[in-house]
């Protein structure tokens, strides 16, 4: 069971144009900043919003094709959708919520309730079967919503920020549960999140969506190792530069150069981990091939280290010890020199 | 059983029903005349005559079924003069008015659409199944007289509606909703060319007597009396008769 989709549509100020493919057994996580179009993409796959161009094919069956006019209505698509705030029907009990999909598809009430009860049991919320949604905690509601989406054995499970409605304290535990339940699901799964931790821990494969376009796909490791956009670079916590390489030298778009150990040609990305950046109050002499002048800016505390944002022709973030901050009086701002060894620069094609 | 000194909350009702606007008219006296609906056209004319003869005094009218007017006066509505279409309703307020004088009389007539398309010839026809007949409600003088006339003629009519005053009954026939109604000859005359009348012979007809009186509680006794005198004057009798009324019975 697999999903192949090309979604091209404009809605409000967003123009979404993305290709998504999810293979059998894969859990693909759609990651991106708010407003990138992630929810819109899910809704398009569900048939809640029409495509301007493109097509959606699930397990070989064409659900929608803008060119031929093929269209399968939402209610006939074999999908399950977990909404961001669950959207459990407030006038029905948890059991009736889960049974809803079965009854809507023609199953008799008693049988539908029986199966729903089994699923509630499986998710550990059987004791709340008779409760109304407003009486459930965030975690319980999420499990009921998941059960409701899965009970009809959909081929494609779409989850829109399933943990966003929970407070941080609960998220960890619920995330583990969610992974377990998703792992046991043998259909195709597509999950949307803006939380990098969720993305990194849950995905088999990541699709990064920014401003309606896919900027990067790959496993979490691949994406982290080679960020291809500022958004991902910030997520992962590395400095990212983009420029034209001529041998060891890379000319950056905003001016300035980066010297790398290896030799490349053409458009490239260059990433530098903040820990590889050394800061000096006077121009350093010696081995580093990369030395940039700049001004010390904001300081962020990250675990037991401090990140210093240096502005200048080559803006860069350095991660230093608190002792270094004190010694260099970085809190006062002022001119600094940042240096990076050529061997610390990771270069890959753009 | 009616109480004469009732002051229930429905004092509001007659005030609402009063068509007279309490307008600016600074310096002018205004008298309010409550008159039976059948007197509408004739009294409007007399009102003009009165204003011409008594500059400085305006007359405003409240035309409605006499039973409604009597009740309003009982409940303290600010009337200066009361002209009723029958003696019964004047009697209801006899403690509240001066000595009533009969100033005109009227007769009943059947009103039908112009051309008499349904061929109504008399009271007996009103019992026909194919006719929609409208009567004034029995509490309304016109309705009561109509009942008496039908009794005299030995005819039973099943009306489709019992209207609150005689003008509404006329209205239904004019609109073409009802085929016939029993109203006054003056109503037929005032009805215009959309309607015509079918006579009711004297042995079946019922004379309506119209008494008029000033209201004791009026604060404009002089002007009110002047209006009553005008109505009873020879000149006004001429006006009334031009609208189809008959002179008061001699007795």
């Amino acid at each position: 069971m697999s999903l192949e989709a090309r979604v091209d549509l404009a809605i409000g100020r967003l123009h979404l144009d993305a290709e998504v493919a999810v293979a059998t057994g894969e859990l693909v996580v759609l990651l991106g900043p708010n407003g990138a179009g992630k929810t819109t993409l899910l809704r398009a796959l569900a048939g809640l919003v029409e495509l301007d161009r493109g097509r959606v094919v699930l397990d070989g069956a064409v659900l929608e094709d803008a060119r031929t006019g093929a269209w399968v209505a939402t209610e006939r698509r074999p999908i399950g959708f977990v909404f961001q705030d669950y959207l459990l029907f407030p006038h029905l009990s948890a059991l009736e919520n889960v049974a809803f999909g079965l009854r809507a598809r023609g199953l008799a009430r008693a049988e539908a309730r029986r199966r729903a009860a089994v699923w509630l049991e499986r998710f550990g919320v059987a004791e709340h079967a008779g409760s109304r949604p407003r009486a459930l905690s965030g975690g319980q509601a999420q499990r009921v919503a998941l059960a409701r989406a899965m009970v009809s054995d959909p081929l494609l499970l779409l989850l829109d920020e399933p943990l966003a409605a929970l407070d941080a304290a609960r998220r960890g535990e619920v995330r583990r549960d969610l992974r377990r339940h998703l792992a046991s699901f043998d259909g195709t799964r597509l999950l949307v999140t803006h939380d990098p931790l969720e993305a990194m821990t849950m995905a088999d494969r990541l699709v990064v969506l920014e401003d309606g376009r896919v900027t990067q796909t790959g496993t979490p490791a691949q994406v982290s190792a080679r960020p291809r956009s500022r958004y991902v670079a910030e997520l992962v916590g590395v400095n990212l530069f983009r420029g034209q390489a001529a041998g060891h030298t890379i000319h950056l778009a905003g001016g300035g150069t980066v010297v790398a150990a290896g030799s490349h040609q053409g458009g490239v990305f260059a990433s530098v981990h903040p820990r590889a950046v050394a800061l000096h109050r006077r121009a350093p002499e010696g081995t580093p091939r990369n030395v940039w002048a700049g001004t010390a800016g904001t300081l962020d505390i990250v675990a037991d280290r401090v990140r210093v944002h240096v502005t200048g022709t080559v803006p860069i973030v350095a991660e230093v010890t608190p002792a270094a901050v004190a010694e260099l009086r970085l809190a006062d701002g002022g001119p600094v020199w940042a240096s990076v060894k050529a061997t610390e620069v990771s270069v890959y094609p753009a | 059983m009616l109480r004469s000194r009732f002051r229930p909350v429905a004092v509001l009702l007659p005030l609402v029903l009063l068509t007279a606007g309490c307008g600016g008219g600074g310096g002018q006296t205004e008298i309010k005349v409550f008159a039976a609906a059948s007197l509408t056209a004739a009294f409007n004319k007399l009102g003009e005559d009165y204003a011409a003869a008594n500059s400085g005094t305006r007359v405003t009218f409240n035309f409605a079924g006499s039973q409604a007017l009597a009740t309003q006066i009982q409940q303290g509505a600010p009337a200066d003069v009361f002209a009723s279409a029958d003696v019964t309703n004047m009697d209801k307020v006899k403690d509240l008015v001066s000595l009533p004088q009969v100033f005109a009389s009227n007769r009943l007539q059947i009103i039908v659409a112009a051309g008499n398309p349904k061929g109504v010839k008399g009271l007996a026809d009103l019992a026909r199944d194919d006719l929609k007949v409208v009567l004034a409600a029995p509490e309304v003088p016109a309705g009561k007289y109509a009942e008496q006339a039908l009794d005299k003629a030995g005819v039973t009519v099943e009306p489709v509606s019992l209207e609150d005053d005689v003008k509404s009954a006329v209205g239904k026939v004019r609109l073409g909703e009802a085929d016939a109604a029993i109203v006054y000859v003056t109503d037929v005359a005032a009805g215009g060319d959309k309607v015509e009348g079918v006579d009711i012979p004297a042995d079946q007809n019922v004379p309506a007597t119209y008494p008029i009186a000033t209201v004791k509680a009026s604060t404009h006794q002089r002007q009110a009396q002047a209006f009553v005198d005008l109505v009873r004057s020879a000149q006004s009798q001429g006006v009334l008769q031009s609208f189809g009324f008959l002179p008061p019975p001699i007795s």
Binding site: R43, A46, G47, L48, A73, T74, E75, R76, R77, I79, G80, F81, F83, L87, F89, P90, H91, F100, G101, A104, R105, R148, A149, S152 | M1, L2, R3, F6, P8, V9, A10, L12, L13, G65, Q67, A68, A70, T71, K132, V134, A137, E139, P159, V160, S161, L162, E163, D164, K172, L175, G176, E177, A178
Partner: protein, 271 residues
């Protein structure tokens, strides 16, 4: 004056400014006094006799039949209309919405006259109804029901439309993803979610129909047993037998109050 310290009002958020309290009390008095007057003048000892009169029972039964009929018609055609107004962007929608509110601002008697001109014997549609089906509406109970439906339906439509607009439509999306077709979604999700608005709208519609006078007497006429509803009976009784009028008014008042009290939570749902 300048030296005096400003006094802090304790609990300022829950206390109202004094002028408001006074004016609000006036409002309550204004609304309550007529009812108090009615109760004070009720001939309690004769009440049972008055109410037992056949004319009263006839009028009451007729009122209930006609008002419920009007509500039935309003639900049957008004609910779909509310749905269309709320959900479908059709050409002329604003005009239709204005048309729907028209009976609310029209004086009822004017409404009655308009109904006559449309459905009377010589009316635009009435002529055809008469010729083709032999159906005449004026002077019939059905006519009274129609007159009441004409003035009362807008209340149902407006309130229900507001409810439909206010509801979160994503619930309908959720139902679709669960396999529910449009009718199932409407039946099992939309209707329950708008039930409070629908209920309030129906109650308002019923109350308005029950109290309708001007359009009824103009269009349907006044005949005991067929078109003389309670308000008409009260009006006519007022001119003859005040105590009967008061008794009838009391019955109408009691019935209306009972419905309003039963709906108080729906009317103003607490957050």
């Amino acid at each position: 004056m300048t030296g005096a310290p400003r006094r802090r009002r304790a609990g300022a958020s829950s206390a109202a400014p004094i002028p408001f309290v006074v004016l609000a009390a006036l409002a309550v008095g204004f609304l309550a006094l007529p009812l108090v007057g009615l109760l004070a003048q009720t001939p309690w000892r004769r009440l049972a006799d008055e109410l037992a009169a056949p004319q009263v029972r006839l009028a009451l039964r007729l009122s209930l039949v006609c008002s419920l009929g009007a509500v039935g018609i309003s639900l049957l055609v008004g609910l779909p209309l509310a749905f269309m107004l709320a959900r479908v962007d059709f050409p002329g929608r604003n005009l239709v919405r204005a048309l729907t509110t028209l009976p609310m601002v029209l004086p009822p008697v004017v409404g009655g006259v308009a109904l006559l001109l449309a459905f009377g014997r010589r009316g635009v549609a009435g002529q055809w109804l008469d010729r083709a089906f032999g159906i005449t509406l004026p002077f019939t109970t059905m006519g009274a029901i129609l007159a009441e439906a004409f003035v009362a339906m807008p209340f149902l439509v407006i309130t229900t439309e507001a409810g439909l607009r206010a509801m979160d439509r994503r619930f309908e999306d959720a139902a679709a993803t669960l396999g529910a077709g449009r009718w199932t979604t409407f039946r099992r999700v939309t209707l329950p979610l708008i039930a409070p608005s629908l209920g309030a709208g129906t109650a308002l519609c019923w109350a308005r129909a029950l109290g309708e006078f001007g359009a009824t007497i103009t269009f349907a006429g006044n005949l005991p047993g067929s078109t003389q509803t309670m308000p008409l009976a009260v009006y006519l009784a007022l001119e003859n037998d005040l105590e009967a009028a008061i008794a009838l008014s009391l019955v109408l008042l009691a019935v209306s109050l009972a419905v309003l009290i039963a709906l108080r939570d729906r009317w103003f749902p607490t957050a």
